[in-house]
C-alpha cells in the first residue's frame, strides 16, 4: 500500500504547487497551500504504517497549525 499512497501524495503536492504558482485568486492559492499540507500529511500517515506512530502525531500538529492559519485568515477578513 505504500507506493500508491506516496504516488497520490506526490500528485496532490504537485497540484498544490502548480495552483500556488499559476492561480491569482488568493483563496484558491490558500486552498492550494492546504492541499500541499495535506499531501505531506498523507505521506506521514503512509510511512507511519512502517516506521511507527510518531508520523501520525506530526499529522495532528500540521492539522492544528493549518486550522490556526485559517483562523488568522478569517479574523483578518472580518477586521478588514
Amino acid at each position: 500500500m505504500l507506493a500508491p499512497a506516496l504516488g497520490v501524495s506526490a500528485i496532490l503536492f504537485s497540484i498544490g504547487v502548480a495552483g500556488v504558482l499559476l492561480r491569482r485568486n488568493v483563496i484558491i492559492i490558500f486552498m492550494c497551500v492546504e492541499l500541499m499540507l495535506n499531501a505531506v500529511n498523507l505521506t506521514f500517515i503512509a510511512l507511519a504504517q512502517q516506521l511507527g506512530p510518531e508520523g501520525q502525531v506530526v499529522v495532528f500538529f500540521v492539522m492544528a497549525v493549518a486550522a490556526a492559519e485559517v483562523a488568522v485568515w478569517v479574523l483578518r477578513q472580518m477586521a478588514g
Binding site: 504547487v17 500556488v20 504558482l21 491569482r24
Partner: protein, 644 residues
C-alpha cells in the same frame, strides 16, 4: 675578541647637534682602536682558520641556513684598518669642513651609518651578509651624494649613482643564486671549500658566476661601462667623496674579487676579462682626467683609473697586489680629496665673503694658492708624487706591483703584455694630469680676483691634521709590500696568504729575474718622471685665463672635456628608448589600455553588469519568487538524492 664584532653594531645615529662631533668622531676612533686590537690578536693567533662570530640565525629556509655572522681574517683585517683608520681621519676633517652646514647632525649620522655598513660588508662571513653591507653603503652613498638636496642636480646625481649600482647588484644577486645552486651554501668558507669539487676549472658555470660577480663589482667600483656615476657623485660634500668615492666603498668590488679569489682563479676567462676591463678603464679614465677643469672631477676620474689598476691586479691573480694598491690608494687619494676639500673650503669662503658667483671648484679660478695655503699645497704634492709613482712613495710600489705581474704573465699570454703597455701608458697620463691639477691649483698667478684674494686662508688644524697623517701613510705605506728584490719584501703578500691559498694552485708562480725587476722599477720611475716633466714643460699656469674668459676647447680636447660623450651616448642608447618605451608603449598602451581599460575599468563594468542582471530577478511579484523558490527546492532535493 668576541665582543669586537658586536662593537660595530652599536653605532648609533646622533641627533643632538652639540654632541654630534664628539660622538661621530669618537665612535670611529674607538672602532679604529678595536680594529687594531683585533688585528694584533689575529696576527698572534694561528694563521689557518678565520675567526667567525655567529650572532643569530637570520633565515633558515629549507636546506639554506643563513646566519648573521661576521668573520675576521687577514683580508678583512686589512680592510678593517683602512676603513676605520682613513674613516677616522676623514671624520675629523669633516668637523672643520662641515662646521657651518645646517645638516651637520644629519651628515654625521649618514657618515657613521656608512661606516657601519662598510664594516658589515668587509666583516660579513657569507655572501648575503656581504650583500647587506653592499646595499647599505649604496644607500648611504645615495644619501650623501644628494646631501645638499635642495639643488636638483645633486639629487639627480644621487639617483644616477643608485640606479647604476642597481645594475651591478642584479649581477651580484644572480651570482649568489647560482653559487647556492652549485655548492648548496652561501658561507664563504663552505663555498670556497666546495668550489674545487663543485666546479671544473674554466667550466661554464664558474665562468658565468664570476662574470655576474664582476658585474656587481663593475657597478660598485665604477668600471667601464658603469663608471659615469662616480664623477657625478662629486656633487656630495668633499669628505664624502674622499671616504666613499675614493677610499672605501668603491673598493668594495676589488674586495669582493679578492674574497672570491678561488672562484675567479677557477675561471681564467673571467679573470682575463676583469684584468682587461681594469686596464682599459685605467687608460680611458686617465685620458678624460686630462681635460677636466673641476678639481674634484679630475680626482674622480683619477679614482676610476686607479680602480682599474686594482682590478688589473686581482684579475691577474695577484690578489695581494690588488689589495695593496687598494690600501695605498686609500691613503693618497683620501689625502688628495681632503686637500681639494680644503682648497674648495677656502675658495668657498672667499667667494662667500665677496658674494662672488664664480665656480669655487674650477681650477681656472684658482692658481697660486701655494702662497695662501702652504700646508695643503705641500701635503697634496706628496700625494701627487705618490699617485704618479715616484719612488719611494707608496703608490710607486703598489702600482709597480700590479704592472710587474702583468709583465711577468705577459711571457705566457701576449694579452697580458698588452695590459702592461696600457697600464704603463695610463701611469704616464696619471703623472701628467695630476701634475697639471697641482700646477693650475697651486702655482702660477692667482686668478681668484682681487677682492676674493684677501679672504683666502689656510684651513684650520682639524683639517690639515688628518692631511698630515695621511701624508705620512702615503709616504710609508709602500713599505708594507716591497718588491722581491728588497729585504723584508712582500709582507702583505705573506699576511694575505691564508686567504689566497685556495687559489694559488690555479695560477702559475710569478717569477721575475732580478735584472728584469730592476728594469721594470726603473722604467716605471722614468714613466712617472716623464709625465711630471712633460706637464711642467708643456703647461703654462701663468697664462691660464679665468673660467669666465676661457675660450671653448676645440677638436680632440673638447671630446676629452666632454668625457667622450659617454653620458650622451647612454642617454641616446638607453635612457631615451626606455623613456619612449615607457611613455608610448607601457603608459599609453599597457597602462591605459590593458591595466586601466581591461583590468580596472573592466572589473568595474563586470560588477555593474552582474548587478544589473541581479536586479532582473527582483520583479516584486510573489509568483516569480515562489517559482524560483520551487526551482531551488527541486535542485536541492535532486542534490540530496544524488548524495544518498
Amino acid at each position: 675578541m668576541g665582543f669586537a664584532a658586536n662593537g660595530w653594531l652599536s653605532f648609533f645615529r646622533p641627533n643632538a647637534k652639540t654632541a654630534v662631533s664628539a660622538i661621530g668622531v669618537g665612535v670611529l676612533i674607538a672602532s679604529f682602536a678595536v680594529a687594531i686590537a683585533v688585528v694584533t690578536g689575529l696576527s698572534g693567533a694561528a694563521h689557518e682558520a678565520p675567526f667567525i662570530i655567529q650572532l643569530w640565525s637570520w633565515m633558515p629556509v629549507g636546506d639554506l641556513q643563513l646566519d648573521i655572522a661576521f668573520q675576521v681574517d687577514q683580508l678583512s683585517a686589512v680592510m678593517l684598518l683602512v676603513v676605520t683608520g682613513v674613516g677616522s681621519l676623514i671624520h675629523i676633517f669633516s668637523v672643520g669642513y662641515m662646521r657651518t652646514d645646517e645638516g651637520y647632525a644629519r651628515y654625521f649620522a649618514y657618515l657613521n651609518l656608512f661606516v657601519f655598513f662598510m664594516l658589515v660588508l668587509v666583516l660579513g662571513s657569507s655572501f648575503p651578509v656581504l650583500f647587506i653591507g653592499w646595499e647599505g653603503v649604496g644607500l648611504c652613498s645615495y644619501l650623501l651624494i644628494g646631501f645638499w638636496y635642495t639643488d636638483n642636480a645633486n639629487a639627480d646625481a644621487g639617483k644616477k649613482a643608485f640606479v647604476m649600482n642597481r645594475i651591478g647588484d642584479f649581477g651580484l644577486m644572480v651570482a649568489m643564486f647560482m653559487i647556492y645552486r652549485s655548492t648548496g651554501s652561501l658561507d664563504f668558507g663552505a663555498v670556497f671549500d666546495a668550489a674545487p669539487t663543485a666546479f671544473t676549472v674554466g667550466g661554464a658555470t664558474v665562468t658565468l658566476i664570476t662574470m655576474f660577480l664582476f658585474l656587481g663589482c663593475v657597478g660598485k667600483s665604477a668600471q667601464i661601462p658603469l663608471f659615469t656615476w662616480l664623477p657625478d657623485a662629486m656633487a656630495g660634500p668633499t669628505p664624502v667623496s674622499a671616504l666613499i668615492h675614493a677610499a672605501t666603498m668603491v673598493t668594495a668590488g676589488v674586495y669582493l674579487v679578492a674574497r672570491s679569489n678561488v672562484l675567479f682563479a677557477m675561471a681564467p676567462v673571467s679573470s682575463a676579462v676583469v684584468a682587461g676591463v681594469g686596464a682599459l678603464t685605467a687608460l680611458f679614465a686617465a685620458t678624460i682626467a686630462l681635460k677636466q677643469w673641476d678639481i674634484k672631477k679630475v680626482l674622480a676620474y683619477s679614482t676610476v683609473s686607479q680602480l682599474g689598476y686594482m682590478f688589473m691586479g686581482v684579475g691577474l691573480g695577484a690578489y695581494a697586489s690588488g689589495v695593496f694598491h687598494l690600501m695605498t690608494h686609500a691613503f693618497f687619494k683620501a689625502l688628495l680629496f681632503l686637500g681639494s676639500g680644503s682648497v674648495i673650503h677656502a675658495m668657498h669662503h672667499a667667494h662667500h665673503a665677496t658674494h662672488s658667483k664664480d665656480d669655487a671648484q674650477d681650477m681656472r679660478n684658482m692658481g697660486g694658492l701655494r702662497g695662501f695655503m702652504p700646508w695643503t699645497a705641500a701635503l697634496m704634492w706628496i700625494a701627487t708624487l705618490a699617485i704618479a709613482g715616484i719612488p719611494p712613495l707608496s703608490g710607486f710600489f703598489s702600482k709597480d706591483g700590479v704592472l710587474a705581474v702583468a709583465f711577468a704573465r705577459g711571457h705566457d699570454a701576449p694579452i697580458f703584455m698588452a695590459m702592461w703597455v696600457v697600464g704603463s701608458a695610463a701611469a704616464l697620463l696619471t703623472a701628467f694630469y695630476m701634475t697639471r691639477m697641482m700646477l693650475y691649483t697651486f702655482h702660477g698667478t692667482n686668478r681668484t680676483g682681487v677682492q676674493e684674494r684677501k679672504h683666502l686662508h689656510e684651513a684650520p688644524w682639524s683639517m690639515t691634521g688628518p692631511l698630515a697623517v695621511l701624508a705620512v701613510l702615503a709616504i710609508g705605506g709602500g713599505l708594507l709590500n716591497l718588491p722581491h728584490i728588497f729585504p723584508g719584501s712582500g709582507w702583505l703578500e705573506h699576511w694575505l696568504e691564508p686567504v689566497t691559498a685556495g687559489s694559488a694552485s690555479y695560477w702559475g708562480a710569478i717569477h721575475l729575474e732580478v735584472g728584469t725587476e730592476w728594469a721594470l722599477l726603473g722604467g716605471a720611475t722614468a714613466v712617472a718622471l716623464a709625465g711630471i716633466i712633460a706637464a711642467v714643460v708643456l703647461l703654462k699656469p701663468g697664462q691660464l685665463p679665468r673660467a669666465a674668459e676661457a675660450a671653448e676647447e676645440r677638436g680632440w680636447q673638447r671630446v676629452l672635456r666632454d668625457k667622450y660623450y659617454i653620458d650622451e651616448l647612454y642617454d641616446a642608447l638607453i635612457v631615451r628608448p626606455l623613456v619612449w618605451l615607457s611613455r608610448r608603449v607601457l603608459w599609453r598602451s599597457v597602462d591605459d589600455g590593458v591595466i586601466d581599460g581591461a583590468l580596472v575599468n573592466g572589473s568595474a563594468k563586470l560588477t555593474k553588469f552582474l548587478g544589473w542582471a541581479g536586479t532582473q530577478f527582483q520583479t516584486g511579484r510573489v509568483g516569480t519568487y515562489i517559482l524560483f523558490f520551487v526551482i531551488g527546492a527541486l535542485v536541492l532535493i535532486r542534490a540530496v538524492m544524488s548524495q544518498s
